[in-house]
């Protein structure tokens, strides 16, 4: 089923809901006084005519009671933007099965991934009570995306097909149409991301800061008074709907930020005009206030353990699990483990663009990459570092993805020292020094410096174990922690031979997600930074791809962008994954190292089994944080996961 068909199915569901007898809405207690005093209209006037009815079909999900205040911890003040990720209010949004559903929109008509007609909900309002209409989309397209001063680079790349922009029209206040000359399958998923492409803006508010609608003199003076170079910089600073850094900016999120930075404590209050209700007719979110307290990243786990967070996962790692279980007894919270969706928790990236010619030749030899992979004892690493709870194998999609086959994870990723030694001999690395380390063709010992971003000791621990088994294949490993920016810049410059980082961002990909991570189209691809840079800059810098399999990946990625139909897209994905499995462009170690999630004993509707992922997933986003609620009494704690 492709996106179009899915949305049509979703529409059918939405239609069925609309046909159901109108809900009797219940006033939110927190707003009752204000409504009685006339400061807000009553709930039926605040909701759209047909709000989104949220009733997840989960055994552990129950409709709740509104009220309460939820505390969470963040490591830096800038992380207030996480509330827009957690709140996950999008034009279209992924559900827990990773299918796209209309959310802010009432529905979407999709004609061949080429023409998208977006239908808004009648009566939908911004958090300041002003109507949300197609004019807000027009403001974005005409006055932001196509304004030379606000967007000197033009509209975002995902809105261009073959470099050409869409035709955007606004037939009526509730309808917006994006039409391209060729398919743009990336459009809808981009709207549903954790930091989405936002194709609307609160025009009524931002107009006051736009040169087209306000007097130049006044505007320039205001901008200068706020230390901005010009009106455009000032406008850009104010208009970020995903960062929660401007309390005056109207929003469509479930909670609105009320605290102006700088602060150590950010208070979010419910959006009185939020467009979702539960099946009882109670306006969501259930929780009135969310408080984000800033604390240093190093003490987040300790603070969580002392019961200072009602819902926490960021800042916690698997290593904290036992401590948190222990502390939960004292402070009445539960700690559960969620799955993670990265292609690998730890992956080695041989730099195919390394400057040293001898090393480059070796790194580009597929036998060398395979040998290094075969010489890693993943079972041992799993047992020693992860209590045997992780998944061993290559850096590829996870079993939850429809594209997964067991071969993808196992190919060239078993533990076979004899095979590794044979491959290395075959390359001609037969001479060894006194330590038993093989010598490279030019006589230097085969010593690989693996650079890490130096943020946690976990990577170094794993590298220590890899060192031992590589040594038995005659390869000496040194690990070298770097500061993060230096780490990246050295890789980009080709100074780094090999680096260690996370694996694929999205291990749960379906054919509808872009496969670009598998192709050399981005400088951030640590195994081929210069090829990626070459593509990104249209050949201005970097190096052209000069390896056949990589070139094929690039071609396939292009083919995916214009492929019609899910079957064709799946075919492309499978071919790309197969190339990766065979070529071992990255060496995976373990995946699915689980994420501890701390849940206050009183907090309900947080699933005990879930997937902790950025994109797709938006962390708590797809689990509907707006339906989490507080009960009177804490629940008994769940049993701990036994170590294997």
């Amino acid at each position: 089923m492709n996106v179009a068909a899915r949305l049509i199915a979703a529409l059918a569901v939405a239609g069925a809901l609309a046909a159901a007898p109108a809900l009797a809405y219940q006033e939110t207690p927190w707003l009752a006084d204000d409504v009685a005093a006339g400061r807000f209209p009553p709930v039926e006037k605040r909701l759209p005519e047909s709000p989104l009815v949220v009733a997840p079909k989960r055994d552990d999900w129950k409709p709740g009671t509104p009220g309460g205040e939820m505390r969470m911890l963040i490591g830096r003040a800038q992380d207030v933007r996480m509330m827009s990720v957690f709140g996950y209010s999008r034009l279209v949004a992924f559900d827990t099965d990773l299918r796209l559903r209309p959310d802010i929109l009432a529905s979407v008509d999709n004609e061949g991934d080429r023409v998208f007609t977006l239908h808004l909900r009648a009566g939908h309002r911004w958090s300041d009570g002003r109507p949300f209409t197609s004019d807000d989309f027009r403001y974005y397209w005409q006055d932001v995306a196509n304004n030379k001063e606000l967007s000197p680079g033009g509209p975002p790349k995902v809105l261009l097909v073959d470099g050409k922009p869409p035709e955007v029209s606004y037939p009526d206040p509730l309808t917006v149409r994006y039409a391209w000359h060729a398919p743009n399958p990336g459009f809808l998923p981009a709207l549903a991301g954790p930091v989405p492409l936002v194709i609307f803006r609160p025009g009524h508010y931002l107009r006051n800061f736009h040169a087209r609608y306000s007097e130049h003199e006044v505007l320039a003076r205001t901008a200068r008074a706020h230390n901005a170079r010009n009106w455009a910089q000032f406008h850009n600073r104010l208009d970020n709907l995903t960062r929660n850094d401007n309390p005056d900016l109207p929003t469509l999120d479930p909670w609105i930020v009320r605290t102006r930075a700088p602060s150590e404590r950010f208070v979010f209050e419910r959006n009185p005009y939020f467009h979702r209700v539960d099946a009882q007719g109670r306006q969501l979110p259930y929780i009135d206030r969310v408080i984000l307290n800033v604390a240093d990243g190093k003490i987040l786990a300790a603070k969580t353990g002392s019961g200072e967070s009602d819902l926490q996962a960021r800042g916690l790692s698997f290593a904290n699990y036992t401590f948190l279980r222990q502390a939960g007894k004292r402070n009445s919270f539960d700690t559960v483990l969620w799955d993670t969706a990265k292609g690998a928790q730890i992956a080695l990236y041989p730099n195919l663009n390394v400057s040293d010619p001898v090393w480059r030749a070796l790194m580009r030899d597929v036998r060398f990459r395979r040998a290094l992979s075969l010489a890693i004892d993943r079972r041992e690493i799993n047992q020693v570092v992860y209590f045997g709870l992780a998944v061993e194998g290559a850096n590829t999609v996870l079993p939850g993805s429809p594209l997964y086959t067991p071969e993808l994870r196992s190919a060239w990723h078993g533990f076979d020292l004899a095979g590794a030694n044979r491959l290395l001999d075959e390359i001609g690395l037969t001479k060894r020094d006194a330590r038993g380390v093989r010598l490279m063709p030019d006589g230097r010992p085969l010593e690989i410096v693996v650079e890490t971003a130096g943020e946690d000791t976990e990577q170094v621990d794993v590298l220590e174990l890899i060192h031992d088994s590589w040594m038995r294949a005659g390869v000496k490993l040194y690990s070298r922690p770097q500061q993060r920016e230096i780490f990246r810049n050295r890789i980009f410059a080709g100074e780094t031979k090999m680096s260690v980082w996370f694996g694929l961002e999205n291990g749960l990909a379906t054919p509808d997600f872009s496969p670009e991570e598998l192709a050399p189209v981005n400088q951030q691809g640590l195994q081929w930074p210069k090829w990626g840079q070459y593509f990104e800059t249209n050949g201005a810098s970097g190096e052209a791809v000069d390896m056949a399999p990589a070139r094929e990946l690039m071609g396939l990625n292009e083919a995916w962008r214009t492929a019609a139909g899910e079957a064709r897209r799946a075919e492309i994905w499978k071919r790309m994954l197969a190339i990766h499995a065979d070529e071992v462009f990255t060496i995976g170690v373990v995946a699915n190292v689980r994420q501890p999630v701390v849940i206050s004993g009183r907090l309900r509707n947080v699933p005990h089994k879930g997937i902790w992922n950025w994109d797709p997933g938006s962390f708590f986003g797809i689990y509907h944080m707006d339906t989490f609620w507080f009960d009177e009494k804490p629940l008994p704690r769940t049993a701990a996961v036994p170590a294997r």
Binding site: P194, P262, D296, I299, A302, Q524, D615
Partner: protein, 332 residues
């Protein structure tokens, strides 16, 4: 005396200019700029940042200008009292720093008081009872304080305070009081949290001060005027406090120059570990992320405080110690 003060003040100008150039150069030395930090962070989140957008931001932040231009832009602002713009907070630097000043002062001031209150009696006792059991015992304690890594002590104390007294971990007050106006309850909450950082930051300083006071006092106590005073029947405490102690205080007064910058960013590492809402952790973060105007202005304020502090302590020394004041005109 007047011409001395004027001369000292005039010398400050080139000193500060030189410092500003050095500060700015050092901040610029590491490869990359704030945007590369930002990109790396976006990347770690799984977001991609495209090169065009980055170029645009670089221009908006003024990072496309040459370092020399950037320096003069910054210097020009400083002379007008404009500390520049913090990229990371997206706010004027003055605004970012200002909020934390009060608490920074509170922590630093309390720590200084704590140090003095503990160090003076112990130092005097150790000097007057040299090589006694008490002297050895207290010296041992002092060395322990000096040798314990303060961040470790901080973590242990935070944990114990949480388990025993239910004090929330880190910070200077319970979360619900942040951004609230001062009240009785808030003040109590601050007191509840304040003692841990004060003890942790104060311990090493206390130990050092005990040793110095002891050594100075021992020197003085052996001088002939003390013996004479005792022989002439001056009461023991007077023979101690009136002259030898005053003499041994000089190093502490010249320390004032060091104290002032501590008020702004003292004990950064401990503050980071304890997540104190003071300026130290902020300076560290700014340096790491190359938020250059924030870091630069911070360091400049510190430099000014040091220069002024040294000047003030010189004046205070001259005022307090006639030997120094009269030295110029003294003829024997």
């Amino acid at each position: 005396m007047f011409s001395y003060i004027v001369r000292r003040l005039l010398v400050m100008v080139p000193t500060l200019l030189a410092i500003s150039a050095i500060v700015f150069t050092i901040i610029q030395l590491p490869p990359g700029d704030y945007l590369s930090t930002m990109i790396a962070e976006l990347q770690a989140q799984g977001e991609t940042a495209n090169l065009e957008r980055i170029e645009f931001l670089r221009q908006q932040y003024g990072l496309d200008r040459t370092p020399v231009e950037q320096y003069f832009h910054w210097l020009f602002g400083l002379l007008h009292g404009d500390l520049g713009w913090s990229f990371e907070y997206n706010l004027p630097v003055a605004h970012v720093i200002g909020d934390r000043l009060v608490l920074s002062f509170l922590v630093a001031f309390t720590t200084v008081i704590f140090t003095y209150v503990v160090a003076f009696p112990i130092g005097i006792y150790s000097a007057t009872h040299q090589y006694s059991w008490g002297d050895y015992g207290l010296t041992l304690l002092g060395f322990l304080g000096l040798a314990t890594p303060s961040f470790l002590l901080a973590l242990v104390m935070l944990y114990l305070a949480n388990i025993w007294f239910g004090t929330s971990i880190g910070g200077l007050m319970d979360a619900e009081f942040i951004d609230k106006p001062m009240s009785g309850a808030k003040f109590l909450s601050v007191l509840e949290h304040l003692w841990i950082p004060v003890i942790v930051i104060g311990t090493s300083g206390t130990a050092a001060m005990i040793r110095r006071l002891r050594a100075n006092l021992l020197d003085e106590l052996q001088k002939q005027y003390v013996v004479t005073a005792r022989a002439k029947g001056l009461p023991p405490h007077r023979a101690l406090l009136k002259y030898p102690l005053r003499m041994s205080l000089n190093p502490f007064i010249s320390d004032i120059g060091d104290l002032l910058p501590h008020l702004i960013s003292g004990a950064a590492i401990v503050s980071v570990v304890m997540s104190l809402p003071t300026n130290g952790p902020m300076l560290l973060a700014a340096l790491r992320s190359q938020d250059m105007y924030l870091a630069g202005s911070f360091l400049m304020i510190e430099a000014i405080l040091i220069v002024v502090g040294v000047f003030l302590s010189d004046l205070a020394l001259a005022a307090l110690d006639p030997r120094i004041r009269l030295h110029g005109g003294a003829t024997k």
